[in-house]
């Protein structure tokens, strides 16, 4: 239970020596991550300009593609990586130079990292023993945590004898018994199959009410981020792209990267659109069709001093309307339709430009969108996100 402040944090991994590199490559045969991290003389800049104030008991999710520096950030909070520059506070204390064992944090690792030679009980008791708690208190707390996580029957088992989901629970339980100031989780669900993952996600939400402490949760899965986080931090190439509530980042992505990263299916992006300023009002032309922007949008654009220019317009698939009347909007070819139960995903092309629409299925009409037919799609100006072609930033 404590706030956590990251103040302009930077992490540089020194250049590895040649032999180390070779060794590393040999060891994990995973493909090289494709990132555009900045590389300086000192090394690879994995994280930079990272500033974030995490309120007490807040649930923060760090999300971004693989290699963007999420784990590095989390490990700096844990004290497992040295902070190259900047300040880290837990509670009111600056902890840059405090050892992990003295930070009073708990962490769940991606591969669980259970102690293989200890029983589940001993795994969970280990941290409490290190805190020199009495035997009775340790026993009570371990059993209470086991009860909550539904692992009481497993207490005497060794990790080897557990399934993936059970190991996951034990790993969470081991962190949970401690009642830590900050609860850190690094992709805790990524080793589980899809069904178990959904189930555990729901359990983490429930668990959170019981633990009532500050959470920092790392994932590459934006669905997890949207469902779990009070606020989401979206990262790319070592930089924060946007910080906000799930609604904020969904409804107002600050740049093209966030727009494309958050939301499934991805937001439709149209690159070569003309934004024209006409007095106090603005118009935008998308593939030959002109739209007048709303009053609110115009006011915001005016306030930001936006001039006429070429821009990229983004529209979420749920906001695309599709009609069989080929004249009712921008015409397109239906490539594929996917039945998703209550909704239909329509993949369309207009020349090079692809558009995805998500439309509810109305079983009462016989109107059917056929594959390979010609249709028209349209959207409302109010649903448009406008991005500068130059900077990729949201113009509003």
């Amino acid at each position: 239970m404590a706030k956590v402040i990251l103040d302009n944090i930077k992490k540089i991994y020194p250049h590895a020596k040649d032999e180390d590199k070779k060794k590393k490559k040999k060891k994990n045969n995973e493909p090289e991550k494709k990132t555009n991290l900045q590389i300086t003389d000192e090394g690879v800049v994995a994280v930079q300009q990272f500033s974030l104030e995490i309120a007490d008991k807040e649930f923060i999710v760090l999300v971004g593609p693989s290699g963007c520096g999420k784990s590095t950030t989390l490990r700096m909070i844990a004290g497992l990586e040295k902070i190259t520059e900047g300040n880290l506070y837990i509670g009111d204390e600056r902890v840059n130079d405090v050892a992990p064992k003295d930070r009073d944090i708990a962490m769940v690792f991606q591969n669980y990292a259970l102690y293989p030679h200890m029983s589940v009980y001993d795994n969970m008791a280990f941290s409490l023993q290190n805190q020199k708690k009495s035997k009775e208190e340790i026993d009570a707390r371990v059993r209470e945590a086991a009860e909550i996580l539904d692992i009481t029957p497993l207490l005497e088992r060794k990790p080897k004898a557990l399934s993936g989901g059970q190991r996951q629970r034990v790993a969470i339980g081991r962190a949970f018994v401690r009642d830590p100031k900050v609860f850190l989780m690094d992709e805790p669900l990524s080793n589980l199959d899809a069904k178990l993952r959904n189930q555990m996600r729901a359990e983490i939400i429930k668990l959170r009410e019981k633990i009532d402490t500050t959470f920092v949760y790392v994932t590459h899965d934006q669905v997890e981020a949207m469902t779990l986080g009070d606020r989401i931090v979206i990262m790319k190439d070592g930089f924060i792209q946007q910080i906000g509530t799930p609604q904020e980042v969904f409804n107002h992505p600050q740049n093209l990267f966030v727009a494309g990263f958050i939301g499934v299916p991805q937001m439709n992006l149209y690159n070569n659109c003309q934004l024209v300023k006409d007095g106090d009002t603005y118009k935008v032309t998308i593939m030959g069709k002109e739209y007048a922007l709303t009053e609110k949008q115009c006011a915001a654009l005016n306030a930001n001093g936006v001039d006429s220019q070429e821009i990229t317009v983004g529209v979420r698939p749920v906001h695309v309307a599709v009609s069989q009347d080929a004249n009712a909007g921008i015409s397109a070819n239906v490539e594929v339709t996917e039945m998703m139960g209550s909704e239909l995903h329509i993949h369309m092309t207009s020349g090079e430009q692809k558009t995805i629409a998500v439309v509810p299925i109305d079983y009462n009409t016989d109107e059917v969108i056929e594959q390979h037919s010609t249709v028209a799609f349209d959207f409302k100006a109010v649903h448009m996100h406008l991005f500068s072609n130059e900077t990729g930033m949201n113009l509003i």
């Binding site: 497992l80 064992k101 003295d102 944090i105 962490m107 990292a113 280990f126 081991r174």
Partner: protein
Amino acid sequence: MGINFEKNSDFKNRLIIFVILFAAAIVVVIPYIWMISNSFKTTMETLMDPNHLLPQTPTLEGYERVLTGSPFFKWLGNSIIVTCTNTIIILFTSTIVGYVFSRFQFKGKEFLFAMLMFTMMVPAQVTMITTFLIIDGIGLYDSLLALIIPSFVNVFGIYLCKQFCDEIPKELIESAQIDGAGNFKIYWKIVVPQLRPCIGALAIFTFLEYWNDYLNPLIYLSSTERMTLPLALSYFSTQHSTDLSATMAAAALIMIPAAVVFLIFQKQFIKGISMTGMK
């Protein structure tokens, strides 16, 4: 037809391998059988009639002379003290130094490790005289400590343990750090249990090395009551004659503890050996 042929050649191969291994096994085992057999013969019989494998007139004379006619139990005690102390100390120093070399970053680490490895290339005989002068200089000549103190550090053991420590997932250590364990506790509670196969193998290596050591006791010990068992074998020989019966009996007795230790640790020993071969 094809299958038959394959089976045939398979059988042939197995037979050849079996014959070779059997011959090798006989070569290895015969001295032991010969030793045990002779320990039940009188010296006279051994010398006069060496062709019989089994003693014609079995006798326990040899054993009697060893157990009652010499300070055998004193020697046994000496051997146990030296071997056990050395084994325990080496297990401790090897695991902890190996762990440090594997997990900690410090200035000059690579150089230090290279130096250590280098000493492994130098035969012990090269440093024998200087070591002797040092031991003598600090007044440890003819004391069991002369066999113990120079053995505190075993470079091979350090190397073996470092290799095993490299294989421990780093998350285990980090997890323990976060769980509030200090460095020594992590070593003792997390690393050592992970090193069990390695410790088993090293325990056998070092136990046998010091249990069978003949050269160092020969150099550093002189009084009869300080001797260790391998050295004591020569006790039954004089310039003019050798009490073969007693020597063989003593040799047979010395083997017993080594065999017991091997049986205790053999499972981990084999696991350790095969794991070192794997990576």
